[in-house]
Symmetry: C2
Subunit: 221 residues, 2 copies
């Protein structure tokens, strides 16, 4: 399943992609992401690392123009919501339960062909740390942080494929939950990413990228 | 500054790297990441997207064996802390202040060559939303989520370079803050990433990767 060796991508290519990407302000509404490219972006979401491997999140992919139009007014009216080819709404779990951990253990047993009994120690560690919460985590925030790992990976994968993205945190989470039918459920909306292709009219694409100097951000010890 | 066009990386190469990566359990303590490669990883940290571009975080890079040895017992004793070539400790800001926003506005003005006065609207929006907190954010969690975008991007960049990584959330944040001298300051430790090269002795490297089925994670609308 996993390739034994890794074909490294030249660092110049990697960094060029990170310079090229920007939070797209104006998408070209006429350009859609192809089915093949979209599949790769979804694969990238599924492959994101998460704490214990638990993946305590879901992703809603929105392409329906009617639904996009409903989401736009509760996303500070931002045009990217309706003009981008695809939206990914990031949902984080509200709780961590024994049933959820058991479902994950079932999956590990299935994929790795091991007996569930052999995973009892791992199961009990997760139940103790996360369900009984012996380590004092804020569970809804811990799940949101995991969703943000997927958020970061999605934007980077898109950039490396030459696909534009705009991360959007400016949204009314309760209105999202209502529109998406999440109220009273196990998941809530925490952020959305718009993906597609920049419009030639987006003057922000040409502006120099603003970042703090490395020495202001990074300390070596 | 930004390349006008993007050289796309083949999706197969991207997905191979995501399959190849895994949370490394045993690092080869004899293999160090080269200076050139490390520089690219730091560049990737600096280039991470963040909300409003504010980068409300810092990164401490640890290579000193003495400091690593101090951090290991407060990281659930995990061997990756001492055996990996480099650690990146992710620090998130505790607050968002007018002074911090002004520092960012100074940087935007400098990089883009615009007058600060022309950025007054943007400044006031950030001060209103984040300092006066009109949108009701949990600021320390919002900063931690931004740090997790950097965390995700760092792991993906490493994988694409053929460098191994292990994300580590199992740590005592207060002990980290004490050891790193962060107590009473503006930043706190939220997570750590160990980076280096897998040991041939790590049997986890060969195990099939466990992920939920795409249909359990992704809903299309």
């Amino acid at each position: 399943m996993s390739p034994a060796t890794q074909t490294s991508v030249p660092t110049e290519t990697l960094l060029d992609a990170l310079h090229w990407r920007y939070a797209t302000k104006v998408f070209d509404p006429a350009r859609a992401i192809s089915v093949t490219d979209w599949q790769a972006l979804e694969d990238s979401l599924v492959l994101t690392p998460s704490s214990y491997g638990l993946q305590p999140y879901k992703f809603i992919v929105v392409t329906d123009p009617v639904l996009k139009a409903q989401l736009r007014p509760v996303s500070w009216g931002q045009s990217q919501i309706t003009d981008a080819s695809h939206l990914v709404v990031f949902l984080a779990r509200n709780t961590m339960t024994e049933a959820y951990v058991d479902g994950y253990i079932d999956r590990v047993a299935e994929v790795r062909g091991v007996a569930k009994g052999d995973l009892a120690g791992y199961r009990d560690l997760m139940v103790g740390n996360l369900v009984e919460n012996r380590v004092g985590l804020n569970i809804p925030e811990w799940t949101a942080r995991q969703a943000y790992l997927a958020f970061g990976q999605l934007m980077q994968t898109a950039a490396l494929m030459g696909i534009d993205a705009c991360p959007i945190e400016g949204l009314d989470p309760k209105a999202y939950d209502q529109i998406l039918g999440l109220e009273g459920g196990d998941y809530r909306a925490v952020a959305v990413c718009a993906l597609g292709y920049r419009s030639d009219a987006d003057k922000y694409a040409a502006l120099p990228k603003v970042r703090q100097r490395a020495e202001a951000l990074i300390e070596r010890r």
